[in-house]
């Protein structure tokens, strides 16, 4: 199991932690998205683990739900009034945290943006300075899924997309990417909103299968819903015939890929994003200049790679770039 990237990072981080213990303990704050989705749990785990190894404390706060834009803003404002040396933010939308961030920038607090990007024009006009951004392009992730769909459906066919809450930015970007990624032969015949909920996705997929008996595949905007869709496909006795591809790479999904109920998942490694966020904070607080933007690892996990992915989860199984690590050395 040559997961050199992750293995190396743990050792380095441990060494780093020992080194950091010599300095004054660092105090960071993080504001992430929802509570009840495993994706963000894993992100929190990455933050916590990295904090432990590097001897920093990180206060992690999350919005009540994935739609709670102002609630998330309130939480950032609450934290902004306190003495943290660096802030990690994963905003629900491109702009909902702008005011809190403007306040932080005025106080010259470094801000690390992870996962969902802050809208650049909004940031500029509000004088928000971001130390760095680390995350994955949701559109790219969707595109990878689309390409995979084209590969597994060589003769083409009709597919449906199951999204999160209608109008949600992340869901929109992933589905848009998927649509761009599929070849000419594959046609997206229906898009349904399933509110990021497994049960709703199950019901929706059951209905879509009924409406399109010849459906060849589903693209699902996250794994949790993807598992519900896979269940719907299984209930209809079409496992393997109807390909389900989703995005996120949570553990249950990797297992489902291994078992063959999910065709593939585009793993985005929130754990690593969280880790890198803390590393970025460390680098920023020690005065290093950070790269403006770092692409977090994205991997397509299929049946062939599922074992590898499972073994190294929540970290990526392949190598990836982590420029912050060198900066914190």
């Amino acid at each position: 199991l040559g997961s050199c990237g992750s293995g190396g990072s743990t050792e380095a981080a441990a060494a780093n932690g020992a080194q950091a213990a010599g300095r004054a303990p660092q105090n960071y704050a993080a504001v992430i998205k929802g509570l009840d989705n495993p994706f963000f749990q894993t992100m929190k785990q990455g933050i916590d683990d990295q904090a432990k190894t590097s001897g920093a404390t990180v206060t992690v706060q999350a919005a009540n739900s994935i739609t709670d834009t102002t609630g998330q803003a309130d939480k950032l404002n609450g934290l902004a009034g306190q003495d943290f040396s660096c802030y990690i933010v994963n905003p629900i939308s491109g702009t909902n945290l702008i005011q809190g961030l403007a306040k932080l920038s005025m106080m010259n607090k470094p801000v690390v943006n992870i996962d969902s990007p802050v809208d650049p024009t909004a940031a500029k006009s509000a004088n928000v300075k971001l130390a760095t951004y680390v995350g994955t392009d949701n559109r790219e992730a969707g595109k990878m899924a689309g390409q995979r769909m084209t590969t597994v459906l060589p003769s083409g066919g009709d597919v449906a997309a199951i999204g999160g809450i209608a109008g949600d930015v992340t869901s929109g970007a992933r589905i848009e990417g998927f649509t761009q990624g599929v070849g000419k032969n594959v046609k997206v015949v229906q898009t349904v909103a399933a509110d990021w909920d497994r049960q709703t996705a199950l019901t929706a997929a059951t209905n879509v299968l009924r409406a399109h008996p010849n459906l060849a595949g589903f693209f699902v905007a996250n794994d949790d819903m993807g598992l519900g869709v896979a269940r719907a496909v299984a209930d209809a006795g079409k496992t393997g015939k109807v390909k389900v591809i989703s995005v996120d790479g949570i553990k249950d999904a990797l297992q489902a890929v291994k078992a063959g109920t999910l065709e593939a998942t585009v793993a985005q490694y929130p754990y690593t994003i969280g880790q890198m966020g803390v590393e970025a904070c460390q680098a920023a607080t020690s005065g290093k200049t950070l790269p403006a933007s770092v692409a977090a690892p994205v991997e397509l996990v299929t049946k062939d790679t599922a074992d590898k992915a499972l073994a190294s989860t929540p970290k990526p199984f392949g190598p990836y770039q982590d420029p912050y690590k060198t900066l914190t050395k």
């Binding site: 009840d36 739900s65 229906q190 049960q199 199950l202 209905n207 409406a211």
Partner: protein
């Protein structure tokens, strides 16, 4: 003279009288709405009434029906159980933890129902003894139960693949999946309890006029505790079906079930001000809501237009209830 007078006022209810009766319409409005909806959808897309689609609608409706029945009991006492969906989540998480801990299906199911029942009973005790409005208590429980679910599960879903549990939603009698059969049984028992037991009458009296009920020696506090307990227990049963349906126990909030359960009850002609209630009404109300989403998806209505369509249809269905007053 007295004789004819008596006849004038006390003549037995005949059919034309029933048709003019407000309560009658309220009770059956949801069914009428459902029938209209079915006709429209069937005309537009013949797969709608295919046995397969009916079967999957009924299975999808099972959880909502059970929650709506629990909600009916609470609403008939002029309360509202905002925590019903998150108590179900709590039950599901408890189920998952038990199952993962190797306790087997029976124990896990029992614990799911018990924990949800306890949450319901806590609601009831605080409402009845603390004399706090139902809305706030169950809003607090909504928050507390989802918090507990998150803490217990550490925010992570547990995959539960149990062949027996799986059969709840995949097999059954003809087009009636087992989970729908369970929902039917729950509804029938609830109907008997509401209309053929002393408890049911006392419940309606408590909802209709708490002062009068108290003056007649009915302990409204005990009734309140009982209805919230029932609501909790039914949420627990719903939790088992939910775990069976999605094959996992998740701490996800399931907020859609909350508003839908209340909507099913109100569409079923039950007044939020208490004192009146039926079980048939909410039963068909739940089916109506499920059929609506199913039909719109079958017709391929775009995701942006679906909420608009749902809103309009719900109001139109309720127009059938305008005879209520």
């Amino acid at each position: 003279m007295t004789n004819t007078t008596t006849l004038r006022a006390s003549g037995g209810p005949n059919w034309s009288h029933r048709l003019k009766d407000a309560g009658f319409w309220a009770e059956w409005a949801a069914l009428v709405g459902l029938i209209v909806l079915v006709i429209v959808f069937q005309t537009l897309n013949p797969t709608f009434l295919s046995p397969g689609n009916i079967a999957s609608m009924l299975v999808a409706a099972a959880i909502l029906i059970i929650l709506a029945v629990g909600q009916t009991f609470v609403i008939a006492t002029a309360g509202i159980d905002l925590s019903i969906a998150s108590v179900m989540t709590l039950g599901a998480v408890v189920f998952g933890q038990m199952y993962e801990g190797g306790h087997g299906l029976g124990v896990a199911s029992l614990m799911a129902v018990v924990s949800a029942g306890v949450a319901g009973a806590v609601n009831g005790v605080i409402v009845a003894r603390g004399r706090i409005t139902d809305f706030i208590v169950t809003l607090g429980m909504l928050s507390a139960a989802s918090g507990l679910a998150l803490i217990l599960s550490d925010g992570k879903p547990v995959t539960v693949i149990d062949p027996l549990l799986l059969r709840l939603s995949t097999s059954g009698i003809g087009i009636f999946g087992w989970s729908f059969v369970i929902a039917i049984v729950v509804a029938v028992v609830a109907h008997v309890v509401l209309f053929h037991t002393r408890f049911g009458t006392h419940l309606l009296a408590t909802g209709g006029s708490p002062e009068s009920a108290t003056a007649m020696g009915i302990s409204t506090a005990r009734i309140k505790i009982a209805v919230y307990l029932i609501s909790g227990l039914l949420a627990g049963i719903g939790a088992i079906l939910l775990v069976g349906r999605i094959g996992a126990a998740e701490p996800a909030a399931n907020t859609a079930f909350l508003l839908n359960s209340v909507a099913a009850v109100v569409l079923g002609g039950v007044s939020l001000f208490g004192g009146r209630g039926t079980i048939v009404g909410p039963f068909f109300g739940a089916l109506l809501l499920i059929a609506l989403v199913n039909g719109l998806t079958l017709l391929g209505v775009s995701q942006f237009y679906q909420p608009l369509a749902v809103g309009i249809v719900v109001v139109l269905a309720a127009l059938l209830m305008r005879f209520q007053k």
